[in-house]
């Protein structure tokens, strides 16, 4: 049997890795990949808790999260392409017009 606490710890570590990636990287593409890491950590916890409780609702939620992640990746990458066409960069530090 897989320990549920182990699932939680792995999921937390993966989520924090994603957070660190979002905060220290400046390439918009890598920031997107870090967001995917966080979504996957949440999915892992959903599926692990679904197994712990013996219901399938957590798996359904993970499935919907995947759907949203696919939509998010499509729109986000389109935004990055539009940004690159206009600014010739994907460095988020150079796209700070809306920053206070």
């Amino acid at each position: 049997m897989i320990p549920a606490g182990g699932i939680l710890v792995v999921s937390a570590v993966l989520f924090v890795t994603g957070v660190i990636g979002v905060m220290i990287r400046r390439s918009a593409l890598v920031i997107f990949m870090s967001i995917e890491l966080m979504l996957n950590a949440a999915n892992l916890l959903f599926v692990g808790m679904a197994r712990l409780l013996g219901t399938m609702d957590g798996q359904l939620f993970a499935f919907f999260v995947m759907t949203v992640a696919a939509a998010e990746a499509a729109v986000g990458l389109a935004i990055i392409i539009a940004l690159f066409r206009r600014r010739r960069t994907t460095d988020v530090d150079q796209v700070n017009l809306l920053k206070w």
């Binding site: 937390a12 593409l29 993970a62 998010e72 994907t90």
Partner: protein, 184 residues
């Protein structure tokens, strides 16, 4: 302590998943990051298989490691962004804030772990016999078209909106609402 093959596989997979996630965050070259992410997604798919979610295992490989990562690699190929390094220009404030955020998240997770372990050992959770079709297409499909019919339909609208949005953002010629022409 004695480990069953399943547990052994779980711990090995955990190491692979964490290592590949670190690679995604820390490597300089975006292409290496993307390929590490593919490996990471496959490791997470392995977790799904170990947790009796065989349908999600297949979806994870096909949709995530297949479709979404191809999209990522396509964009990397299209843009050819130069590697930017990790620590080089990251300010101290970012490092400090990252440390604070990571510590807070790990602390809150550590608070939850004992409760989960208690729940597990109390026998309230983890039934020995799972319902038929657990994690398989039949079980997921039954639930998806009965209890979760409304979220399912909303998801279809979401995908339609995302498709229109991606086409709008990605089209050639005018870029965005400002409408200045591109040279090509």
């Amino acid at each position: 302590m004695d480990l069953s093959p399943r547990e052994l596989l779980f711990y090995a997979d955990a190491i692979v998943a964490v290592m590949t996630a670190m690679m995604v965050v820390l490597h300089r070259n975006p292409v290496v990051c993307a390929l590490s992410l593919v490996a990471h997604l496959c490791a997470v798919a392995m977790f799904f298989l170990l947790l009796d979610a065989s349908f999600l295992f297949a979806v994870q490989i096909i949709l995530y490691a297949g479709a979404i990562m191809v999209l990522f690699l396509f964009v990397i190929m299209l843009l050819d962004p130069a590697g930017e390094g990790v620590a080089g220009r990251t300010g101290n404030i970012q490092i400090v804030m990252t440390g604070v955020a990571a510590a807070a998240l790990l602390f809150s997770a550590a608070r939850v772990v004992p409760a989960i372990v208690d729940l597990e050992s109390a026998g309230g959770g983890r039934p020995t016999s799972l319902p038929p079709g657990y994690g398989q297409v039949s079980g997921i499909g039954r639930l998806l078209f009965t209890d979760y019919l409304f979220p399912f339909e909303v998801a279809s609208i979401l995908l339609l909106v995302a498709m229109i949005g991606a086409l709008y953002m990605g089209r050639l010629g005018k870029v965005g609402p400002a409408g200045d022409k591109e040279p090509e």
